[in-house]
């Protein structure tokens, strides 16, 4: 399936995918409908709803709350009032999540204008600064929560609480994968650990289980759970497997022949074939030997600081080339350090996080562009919330701030070199062009040719969607 498919109904759409993952996705869906586990609503109509600009998405997720006022949101006011008490005026209540608000704190990084568009970027991101003319910034994103768990859920699944499918799962559900030997949704967590909310950050929630993110641990001996037999299972060989699978399929085929009307039995037969195909394709997905030294160097694989994120950015490119629909690359894990949750020391903690991400993310932009992939690939950079313009108590860190934060888009359907929205003079609260996670998700779906209000699944009495009851496409950053 190499050409985009426009107006055709869901059955036809999956039908074109033959016996591949899409085929299985279809059988799973039909079973769900038949079994009535969750009766799917027919609200979505033909998919995609209109001509998509983007065929696939790579999302870079800064786990922990990347500090907008130390990276992109330049505020001279913070320099002018550095060290003074933070008094926003107007009787506004200053609410820090886990600490007592300290004094106004200027960024320890220097800001400068970059590119034709003249975007401000701090010295923490020298590589990305060179790409601002390719990026479209959402400068006034806002989160309903100041706390990692719910804020990360809002940004992954659109809901405050656990149990809801995340964006990748919805996209997998709506569009499937672009090839029959790869999953539609792949998550690449940081080598140091899973993000906040653990595996629930990639959950399919109440959607069929095949839409959950396939987690690939890029540096682990076993990159995907159950991909290979465990070490020490010496009785299992390539021959035992291939002959065994053939015999299994014979037994299953005979069993299914006596039960001709049960599509689930055939789907299970197909699932083994898909697994076999995926097992064959996995090494080419994960093996970087085919990449030139120059490419590996571009992504920073030769340096300790950038090697992990760089490897995963490069893998993300290989995956979308091979038909994965949605790849999520996480920077930082869910613990108390080694992420973007910089409560203690912005220069040191944020500096390290930025260094590990900056060059690889810039390399991904360069690489996608030079290969022509940016034409129909959407690259998204985001985080769960921002940070406070004042210090956390007497430290040099900053507490959580759902009031304003920055995300950016690049690639398919995006108007490059633009910015939308603005925070107040402090970078404390979004004031103009306020964008929520719902708007953010609506925009991604829109670029994929999907109307976010029409991709729904009934669950527990409500027709649920990724954008809850909200969401507006941010037209201002679209080409």
């Amino acid at each position: 399936m190499n050409k985009p498919i426009f107006a055709c109904n869901r059955r036809e759409f999956f039908g074109r995918l033959g016996t591949g993952l899409g085929g299985i996705a279809l059988t799973s869906l039909l079973q769900r409908e038949a079994a009535g586990a969750h009766s799917t609503s027919s609200g979505q109509g033909a998919l995609p709803h209109y001509r998509p600009k983007a065929r696939r998405v790579i999302q870079l997720f800064m786990n922990g709350g990347a500090s907008q006022c130390d990276l992109f949101d330049f505020k001279p006011e913070l320099i002018a009032r550095h060290g003074q008490k933070f008094e926003p005026g107007g009787g506004q209540r200053v609410e820090a999540t886990v600490s007592v608000p300290g004094a106004v704190m200027k960024s320890p990084f220097e800001f400068a204008r970059h590119g034709q568009c003249g975007r401000w970027v701090s010295s923490a991101l020298p590589h990305l600064a060179r790409h601002v003319d390719d990026l479209a910034f959402l400068m006034a994103m806002q989160s309903k929560s100041n706390v990692h768990g719910p804020a990360a859920y809002l940004q992954t699944s659109g809901f405050f609480l656990p149990g809801f499918p995340c964006a990748g799962a919805w996209i997998s559900y709506a569009l499937g994968s672009l090839a029959d030997d790869v999953p539609a949704f792949v998550a690449l967590p940081d080598a140091r650990g899973l993000p906040y909310n653990g595996r629930s950050a990639f959950t399919a929630g109440f959607l069929p289980a095949n839409h959950q993110g396939t987690i690939l641990h890029a540096s682990a001996a076993q990159p995907m759970t159950h991909l290979h037999p465990p070490a020490g299972a010496s009785n299992i060989t390539a021959a035992s497997r291939s002959e065994g699978l053939a015999l299994l399929q014979t037994l299953n085929a005979a069993h299914a022949a006596e039960r001709p009307d049960d599509s689930r039995l055939r789907a299970r037969i197909e699932s083994y074939e898909l697994a076999a195909r995926f097992q064959l394709s996995a090494p080419t997905l994960l093996d970087l030997k085919g990449e030139t030294q120059a490419t590996q160097k571009l992504y920073g694989l030769d340096q300790l600081a950038t090697a992990d994120f760089g490897r995963r950015c490069l893998l993300a490119r290989r995956m979308i080339e091979r038909g994965v629909r949605f790849v999520q690359v996480w920077s930082g894990h869910g613990g108390g350090a080694d992420n973007w949750d910089n409560h203690g020391d912005i220069p040191r903690e944020l500096g390290a996080a930025a260094r590990s991400m900056d060059q690889p993310a810039a390399a991904l932009l360069t690489d996608l562009k030079s290969r022509g992939l940016l034409e129909d690939t959407l690259l998204v950079w985001t985080t769960e919330f921002g940070r406070m313009p004042f210090s956390q108590g007497s430290s040099a860190g900053r507490d959580h701030n759902g009031g304003t934060f920055v995300s950016w888009f690049a690639g398919a359907g995006i108007r490059p070199g633009t910015a939308f929205g603005q925070s107040d003079e402090w970078s404390w609260k979004a004031v103009e062009g306020v964008t929520t996670n719902h708007d953010f998700h609506a925009t991604i779906l829109h670029l994929l040719g999907l109307n976010h209000e029409r991709i729904t699944v009934r669950h527990d009495g409500i027709d649920r969607r990724l954008t809850d009851v909200h969401g507006q496409v941010v037209e201002e950053i679209l080409s």
Partner: protein, 917 residues
């Protein structure tokens, strides 16, 4: 404009505008005005059984089939039936021997007898408890970003298993889980049942870490109650009450006000560990002492009369005469030196106490070295060191007159530690263990003197807000001991963590040799000490009364202390030790307001406890006499839920149970009987069963199981046939549905086949992963914290039934996950049945499955030597049938080339194994 649902709401444009403008919709626009009646809210009456079949279920089902000109499918074979009913009632397969016996048994009573045997098996409760825990959304961790362990969740899991095995009547089962503590105080089991309301996820960060005054924290409290209300109403009433949090329910007759009145029912409780005694005698004694304590704390006339009885007066006299010598038993220590690790200064005061000033660092430890002074000799004294007293004293120079150094006058004594160094000893001495600590005043039950000897640096004793007064703590020594003359004692007063600069501002330390566990040692509040100074004949009536109450309380407390430690269950409670500054119990139910659009900032009307108004024949209000008694609120709701006239309750449970037997409920959305849910395929049958279950079966779930699995409808074959064209979906039940084994059934079966299934029941969860770090298992902090991949599949914990697994919400077991085991993220009324490549990978490559197949192969090899015979035996054990000759030949060839373990695994991967005909 659409809210919550994209389906078209049935109410008018006016209401929509109202929502858009954020205006509460006026009563006249209530969705209950909708014309079409909701099937689930019709009064419950028992229809007449149609003629034509002996079993009422068959009669109803066949009447529908006849209308469609459909016929039931013939009965399943003996093999199919035995396999089906064994899994259905116990979650485990029959053995080949059981199969042979059942196939041979021509007695018409063989099947009913089999059903009885399975229902009586303890395995039955284990299997059906898993269904119930799906609905309760049970797990052993809190969920969310820092997914901490919930080490006391499991007693509730065991409660469910016991209740189902004992066939507890459903009404009682419901009542216990909502208000067991209030309705059945004599039964400790009923307290454990409250784990139900607390079983769902809980956001530790929002509730404990995030400051109490933030929007996030208050939102979390609101959503916490939302989860309680949704779980209770979703489970017992099958209504989607949560849809009315932001506005009146758009499809069902539930108003936003009703929703918040249900929140008010749970407004007094939080989720926390709740003590209980599994021993009935201890439970009764603790209940008695607690009741006595309550009567002493809030004395009524009867209690006051008791104070005047001769018995009580004698008790008080005895207590007081012992008490009179109290000051004699204490001798201040002779202080040799005091050093502050934080650089504070100490000045000796005239009364032998020490005043502290100078630097006030974040953390400080006072290191006191001292010797004992001889205590005035008196009769009966042992001379053994039995207790140490720490007096903390007010001083004009301290903030708010102290006794603490912090700005508000408080101190935090995180730990109080003592060491004794014998004369001539060169080290710091040996540690002295304390058995208990008491104070005249504790800030809170978990900010008490006991926290100063709990070995945990993060907990402490404090006296907020009783500043400017003297207080004292007495630390009783575990093993009183005589120390030789010249022994030096080192005492550490530690202000470590939690709050900075909370050192003590003025203190005095004394020692005693009086036998511990004596009333004399108990510190007394100031007012009481003053009464004791008045000669007993001269005391006023109020003074006598106050003293008598205090003495009886002291005696009561010591009796309580002598009881064994209670067990804990994670449940709802209004009485628990606060966790830090932000998560505290509410003594009174919290006020609940209607929130416009569900937003905290848009507070509407204050509401009291109430319930749904839409249930026919049921009052729309709760009979609560005292609205500030939170448990009375829950008790009233529990009674309302289990009222025989509440048709929803009875329809809900029979539909749920039906769904677990047939793979789909008569109404296919067991948690949603509203307009967005399904409509029943056999409404008359559903009502008939509901009434039968309530009135004739008296709520016996086992009777309902028996009734269903002995029907011909349930026993018929899954084979497709003539009905395929007319009713491919089998809504009319012209055949039985083919079902896939659940994740738990796969795991338990493989253990049963390998001969390694450990049938131990109950207890703390079996941790089936490698975990590093402490018992909180916090993931994220370290990628290896939760590691399923390298867990030893032969470890004892791996052999337990799957119901006893440690359920980690955010890091579920990959094998179980691939087989659609819910992860505890949200309530699972119906499990999905997915077919994925990931599942194929798991079935092929999971270490546990591979290892058990190895064990199974060894068992088979011990009985069959040739490959042919082994192939036949593998079929017999795994698929419970004889292999056809071509199958046996093919598998034997495979065994010869690749070994028996691979062959066993192959059969376990087959559809025939995984699906039940």
């Amino acid at each position: 404009m659409r809210r919550c649902s994209t389906a078209k709401p049935a109410w008018g444009i006016r209401a929509l505008i109202g929502v858009m403008l954020g205006i509460a919709v006026a009563a006249g626009d209530n969705p209950s005005d909708q014309n079409k009646a909701l099937w689930s809210l019709a009064p419950l009456a028992q229809p007449t059984v149609p003629p034509g079949a002996a079993h009422p279920i068959d009669a109803f089902v066949r009447a529908r089939l006849a209308k469609k000109r459909l016929k039931p499918t013939p009965m399943a074979s003996r093999r199919e039936l035995l396999r089906r009913v064994s899994y259905d009632l116990t979650g485990l397969p029959p053995t080949p021997e059981e199969l042979a016996a059942f196939v041979e048994d021509k007695d018409p009573q063989a099947y009913p007898a089999l059903v009885e045997r399975l229902l009586a098996s303890p395995r039955h409760g284990e299997h059906w408890a898993r269904h119930w825990l799906d609905v309760a959304n049970y797990a052993d961790t809190h969920g969310n970003d820092h997914d901490y362990a919930r080490p006391h969740a499991w007693p509730y899991r065991d409660y469910v298993i016991r209740s189902l095995n004992n066939d507890k009547p459903y009404a009682r089962f419901v009542q216990e889980q909502v208000a067991g503590d209030a309705l059945f105080p004599e039964d400790s089991e009923a307290t454990v049942a409250l784990g139900f309301v607390a079983a769902g996820p809980w956001d530790h960060t929002l509730m404990v870490t995030v400051r109490e005054d933030t929007v996030d924290h208050r939102t979390a409290q609101n959503l916490d109650r939302d989860n309680m209300v949704s779980t209770v109403i979703g489970t017992f009433q099958s209504l989607t009450i949560h849809c009315a949090r932001c506005h009146n329910h758009k499809f069902d007759p539930i108003s936003q006000r009703e929703y918040y009145s249900l929140q008010a029912v749970f407004a007094g409780v939080d989720r926390a560990n709740r003590p209980f005694d599994s021993n009935a005698g201890v439970h009764a004694e603790r209940q008695r002492l607690r009741a006595e304590r309550l009567s002493l704390e809030h004395p009524d006339e009867k209690t006051l009369a008791r104070l005047e009885t001769t018995g009580t007066i004698r008790q008080i006299e005895a207590w007081e005469s012992a008490r009179a010598r109290r000051e004699e038993v204490w001798a201040p220590l002779e202080i040799l030196s005091i050093v502050s690790t934080g650089g504070a200064n100490f000045t000796r005061q005239e009364d032998g106490s020490w005043f502290v000033d100078g630097p006030r660092p974040d953390r400080d430890t006072y290191v006191v070295t001292a010797r004992r002074r001889p205590i005035r000799q008196a009769q009966g004294r042992s001379g053994k060191l039995s207790a140490i007293r720490l007096e903390v004293l007010p001083d004009e120079r301290l903030p708010k007159r102290g006794p603490g150094r912090w700005d508000n006058g408080n101190f935090h004594l995180n730990e109080f530690r003592a060491f004794a160094a014998l004369p001539g000893s060169t080290n710091g001495g040996t540690s002295i263990a304390f058995s208990r600590a008491m104070a005249d005043y504790n800030e809170a039950p978990n900010i008490s003197a006991a926290q100063a000897i709990d070995g945990k640096g993060e907990s402490h004793w404090g006296v907020h807000p009783r500043y400017g007064e003297p207080h004292e703590a007495v630390f009783e020594i575990k093993e009183p001991k005589t120390f030789p003359e010249g022994t030096t004692f080192t005492l550490l007063l530690e202000n470590l963590a939690g709050a900075v600069g909370h050192g003590i501002g003025r203190f005095r330390i004394s020692a005693s040799d009086i036998a511990p566990d004596s009333a004399v040692l108990t510190p007394l509040p100031m007012a009481l000490a003053a009464i004791l100074r008045v000669a007993s004949a001269e005391r006023s009536a109020p003074q006598r009364r106050e003293l008598a109450l205090a003495v009886l309380k002291d005696i009561n407390q010591r009796a309580l202390d002598r009881l064994p430690e209670p067990q804990l269950v994670y449940a709802i409670t209004r009485d628990f030790p606060p966790d830090g500054e932000n998560f505290k119990p509410s003594l009174e139910p919290r006020p609940i307001h209607v929130l416009m659009r569900g937003e905290l900032g848009r507070t509407g009307e204050l509401v009291g406890p109430g319930t749904l108004g839409c249930v026919p024949g049921m009052p729309a209000s709760l009979a609560v006499a005292e609205t500030d008694d939170e448990s009375a609120r829950r008790a009233a709701l529990a009674r309302w839920l289990t009222d025989p006239h509440n048709g929803l309750t009875w329809r809900s449970i029979v539909n749920r149970v039906w769904g677990w037997h047939f793979g789909r409920g008569l109404c296919e959305t067991p948690n949603d009987f509203g307009r967005m849910g399904g409509t029943p395929s056999h409404p008359e049958l559903l009502d008939w069963l509901a009434v039968w279950f309530r009135d004739e079966a008296h709520g016996s779930l086992k009777a309902l199981h028996r009734f269903i699995v002995t029907s011909e409808t349930w026993k018929q074959s899954t084979l497709t046939g003539h009905g395929q064209a007319l009713d491919a979906d089998n809504r009319l039940l012209w055949r039985q549905n083919r079902s896939r084994l659940s994740a738990e059934e796969v795991r338990d079966t493989v253990l049963a086949l390998s001969g390694r299934l450990d049938l131990t029941m109950g207890g703390p969860p079996a941790v089936q992963f490698n975990a590093r770090g402490d018992a909180t298992f916090m993931p994220g902090g370290n990628p290896a914290f939760v590691d399923y991949e390298h867990f030893d599949p032969d470890a004892p914990a791996a052999r337990r039934r799957a119901i006893y697994r440690f359920l980690f919400r955010t890091v579920p077991d990959p094998l179980m996950d691939a087989l659609d085991c819910p992860d505890g993220g949200s309530v699972t009324a119906v499990r999905g049945v997915s077919t994925t490549a990931q599942q194929a990978f798991a079935m092929m490559n999971d270490a546990f499955l591979i290892r058990q197949c190895g064990h199974l192969a060894k068992r088979i090899e011990s009985e069959a030597t040739t490959a042919e015979a082994q192939a036949g035996e593998a079929f017999r054990r795994i698929l419970l049938r004889d292999a056809r000759s071509n199958e046996r030949t093919a598998l034997a060839g495979y065994i010869q080339r690749h070994g028996l373990p691979n062959a066993c695994q192959l059969l376990i991967n087959s559809n025939e194994f995984l699906y039940l005909d």
